[in-house]
Amino acid sequence: MLACAMMIVSALISACSKTNNEGAASSQPSSSSSGQSSESAAAEPLKDVTLKFYFGGDKPAGADAVWAAISEKYKDILHAKFEVKFIPWGDYSNKLLVMAASGDKWDLNFDAEWLGYSQMIGKNAYLPLNELLPKYAPELNAKYETSGALEAATVNGQVLSLPWTMKQNHRPFIQWRKDLADAQGFGLPHNGIKTMEELDAFLLKAKETNSDKRVFNIGFTSGYPYNIGQIMMLKYGLADLNFHGFVFDMNDPTFKIIPFEQTEAFKEAAAWAKKWVDDGIMSKDAMVDKTDVNTLFGNGQVFSQYSTHEHSSQTNNYPDKAIVTEASMLYPDKPFYNRSPLANVVGINKNSPNPERVLMFLNLLETDRELYDMVMYGVEGVNYQIKDEAATLPDGVDKDNPGNKAYLGWASQWAFWKPQFIRPTEVNPAGFWQAESDFANQPNNINNPLGGLFFDPEPIKNELAQRDTVQDEFGKPILAGLKTDIDGYIAKQQAAGLDTIIAELQKQVDAFLASKSDK
């Protein structure tokens, strides 16, 4: 009895705190409604709202102050207050999924194809924007129409997210220590290595004089074929589906799905990997060493690494200041698909109470340079200052301990980047993004016709799990140069329900292509 009384009391307490929250929320509009009488632009007075944004990463100490300033400056146009919340990366996708599954109400969140975007789509977490986008964000919509980026964000005819408007291509580059190579007499110029054979010869020379370092670290990239596998895919004109080791031929109009282990590219990649492990260019421990390759490179422990145009064009901010790097594009005459526009997106929650206001905000971000600067960099003079067009920390603020002024470089801002407004930073110097965009527009860097396709793994869940197990046990060591039985691996994958998987995936690809051609 007493226990029941306590339980009731605790329920009452939580209910009381709920009403306290409601009281706080309702007092907000009443205090800021006085702003309505002074606004003159809009035809009808807009209601004051609070927009809830979710981003990934750590919340910078100055974030609340910055967004309060944004809200204050644009109160006559947007009539909105902003509640900006950050979820740590490790838990970001899972927490968003749980919130979406339980029908939580927020307005906008960051997402990416390398996060849980495909799962959020699967859970119908995002609001279709087909009608709202042109109505409330006309300039943004016009931008999308010229760039065609909404293609990738469209699922079954519904526009479900707003991709970023930057263009990039992440084709394979090789990056090496120019300071060491030049000093030891075998240095090569920029783009001086074009084929695997040339790379092999170069790395052998590096091995002779740099025995204290790892010459090439196979590392982990997003996707199983590891670096050598991806270079071979480039050479043989195969495109990675980024889905359990399946590829397709870029010249094949039917987009027939091929398991990577059955290709010539796989054989050659395995042969190179074995040769490099035998020659001592690659370490036998690379598969178990989980340290980030870039960190190893920055600490001077690795001579060369797989890279991209973006990464190799950035200003070096490695801890070891003696490091000078040079890079080369491999197989420059082969085509490679541009990075998906879904690399960084923002999605509007299906249960958002104010999608129109969010779209107005995003549209303003596309056109108003001042809003862009505030959102990206903070309040001028407090969180940043402009030096030669670049946004840097204000004088007198300690780089390692900015305290309440910390805001620059906040994670998840990438989805808001606009090529017309973006400022150079320490790492991405002036002209960087223009160069990236020009690189992506080169004739050999083409758009992916299967962009926006997300496979539904449900029908083939078990077979995919089996495939992953076989891949972990045999496929990865083969590509790391530790095992050599390719035919045995192919047979094992065949026995793990490969035909079922391919049939299902092909079906999904065909359905995707059919829905695209219907438009």
Binding site: L2, M7, S17, A101, A112, S222, H311, Q314
Partner: protein, 296 residues
């Protein structure tokens, strides 16, 4: 006869050796964590963890001290949650246990079965989340870190058994003396249950101290994050970084990779107070283990 006396003389030595080995196995990892927090990143990468740091450095603690206000806030939250949670939870569990231990309560078996079911079955993560957020409105508040763990069927049963061993006559004599239920509970039953309460109090306090799940699921506000959550964020960020290293955005977040020393130093911070508390509470712990067992 000689061998028997010899065995008896050596017995203490054997026992000492065994106990020493077991204690060493418990203490050595802890010492390695301390030494890891005082070693340079370079040493750990090249030589791994060692019992005594090769080059002693306080860099990890310096980095932590730069974020001292975050850490102090996290400590404050953890202390508040642990103290309030333990007291409230003990009260609630004791009250339920007392109620169902009284033979005169008509539906005590039904309540016991109801508690039992919560041990056996669970609706899953999403229903739990829906109940907490949509029905109890626990989002982003301090009590969100307390309420979900307040009532625990295990402890209720333990307490019920212990309180059940207190003779019924005591209660009747209290009633004759004119004490109401509440007074009997507060002034007779609770003092008599001290051993059980201390044991369970320790378990509950540990549960609250170590909890990061509630902070992860129910709280977004960074001012309400407990200390264990901070440690977990570091670890999960590392795992995330390793899985996403091909992504250029994540690669550019250079401050995401904490050093090994930083991980160890944060670990020391999170277990620090517990280490001091344990010796004080140890005797209750030992005495209380058998508390729920049949008296006799």
């Amino acid at each position: 006869m000689n061998t028997r006396t010899k065995f008896r003389r050596d017995a203490p030595i054997t026992i000492y050796v065994i106990v020493f080995l077991i204690s060493a196995a418990c203490i050595i990892p802890f010492l390695m964590v301390i030494s890891g927090s005082l070693s340079t990143q370079k040493d750990i990468m090249e030589h791994g963890y060692s019992l005594i740091p090769r080059n002693v450095t306080f860099v990890a603690y310096q980095v932590l001290f730069m974020k001292i206000d975050i850490i102090l806030q996290a400590y404050k939250i953890t202390f508040l949650v642990t103290i309030i949670g333990t007291v409230a939870s003990l009260l609630i569990n004791a009250m339920v246990a007392y109620t169902i231990s009284r033979k005169s309560v008509k539906y005590r078996n039904a309540i016991s079965v109801y508690c039992l079911i919560t041990i056996l079955f669970s609706g899953g993560m999403v229903p739990w989340y829906i109940v907490c957020i949509n029905y109890f409105h626990l989002k982003d508040q301090l009590i969100a870190l307390i309420v979900p763990y307040l009532a625990n069927a295990w402890y209720i049963f333990l307490l019920r058994n212990f309180i059940g061993s207190i003779p019924e006559e005591l209660h009747e004599s209290a009633k004759i003396d004119g004490a109401g239920e509440m007074r009997t509970f507060a002034q007779i039953i609770l003092p008599l249950s001290k051993p059980a309460l201390a044991t369970i109090g320790l378990f509950i306090a540990l549960g609250y101290w170590n909890d990061w799940w509630l902070a992860l699921m129910l709280v977004d506000d960074e001012k309400l994050r407990p200390i264990q959550f901070l440690l977990r964020v570091i670890v999960s960020n590392i795992q995330f970084l390793q899985s996403q290293i091909g992504t250029s955005e994540i690669r550019n977040l250079t401050d995401m990779t904490p050093t090994e020393g930083l991980k160890m130093a944060t670990c020391i911070l999170t277990i620090g107070p517990i280490i001091f508390l344990y010796p004080l509470l140890q005797r209750y712990f030992v005495k209380g283990i058998m508390v729920g067992a049949i008296k006799g």
